[in-house]
């Protein structure tokens, strides 16, 4: 329970810090880079290494590559829907999270089928 609370506090601080820096930056396409900052990873890797060791965290990082590819698909689709179709940000960015999840799991299963 304490570990989860620690993750909530550290994660909240790191994510908020990147979002606050992004608020101040212009142009907005540059500020958007911070929308894909490694905030969750920075908040959790130290805790994971302390709890499970470096090898465990390294395996997590290998899967994170596929998560980042899914993020690219997510952000590209969201950008297109908002710029071309003029759809509002809240439904697009929230519903597209399902696309991120599908892409991340799909890539993971595909990668495992290829390597096994």
């Amino acid at each position: 329970m304490i570990e989860i609370l620690l993750r909530v506090v550290i994660g909240g601080i790191v994510v908020s810090a990147f979002a606050t820096i992004a608020d101040t930056l212009k142009p907005k396409s540059f500020a958007g880079l911070l929308g894909a900052a490694p905030s969750v990873a920075l908040a959790t890797v130290v805790l994971t290494v302390k709890e499970h060791g470096a090898m465990y965290a390294s395996i997590e990082a290998r899967s994170m590559i596929l998560g980042a590819v899914a993020f690219f698909i997510y952000a590209s689709v969201a950008s297109r829907l908002m710029m071309r179709k003029k759809w509002p940000a809240l439904p697009v960015s929230s519903l597209a999270l399902l696309l991120w999840l599908g892409a991340a799991l799909g890539l993971w299963f595909g990668f495992h089928k290829l390597t096994s």
Binding site: K28, A61, R80
Partner: protein, 167 residues
């Protein structure tokens, strides 16, 4: 294009908005840990690249832009487009995120965690900025090519020749 930092922009953000980001960020980080515990590091690792800030950031950006446009009457509302531009930046940043993950994956078993995270963060930023610049250059050259093709000056006799070849 000039990159600028405007500290005064922080005044636009309300404390409730900071709270939403904190809760969202904390919840996603805790979720990544819980999923790793439940399903192992291979599935849990996927969630280290969750779009944690993006939905809240894009929504707030859109809201602020709409408010600004309303204040300056007559100004066109481009809120959705601005959020879309932010998302395009995030897409470039995600390539940096993949580079961050590669550095952590390769270096973590051999070097101290603080050194690995510092190096990986620098790599993320460098790759993200390079991708952002590359996208700008590609877009600019594409736009110039399109403009050249569509606004090509008409050479004498060209129109009649074209007309003859396409009856």
């Amino acid at each position: 294009m000039k990159i600028d930092a405007n500290i005064a922009a922080l005044k636009r953000t309300k404390w409730q908005e900071y709270l939403v980001r904190f809760i969202f960020g904390g919840a996603v980080t805790a979720l990544a840990g819980i999923i790793a515990k439940q399903y192992g590091p291979e599935i849990g690792g996927l969630f280290l690249a969750t779009p944690a800030i993006f939905p809240a950031a894009a929504t707030l950006l859109e809201k602020h832009e709409e408010k600004n446009a309303r204040r300056q009457s007559g100004r066109e509302v481009r809120a959705h487009e601005l959020a879309g531009v932010d998302a395009a930046g995030a897409a470039m940043g995600s390539i940096g995120l993949a580079a961050f993950a590669v550095v952590v994956w390769q270096m973590l078993p051999r070097y101290p965690v603080a050194l690995v995270l510092s190096a990986a963060t620098l790599v993320w930023f460098a790759v993200a900025v390079m991708m952002w610049l590359a996208r700008k250059i590609v877009w600019r050259s594409l736009r110039a090519k399109i403009r050249k093709r569509w606004h090509r000056p008409v050479v004498a006799g060209e129109f009649s020749r074209r007309k003859r070849s396409h009856p």
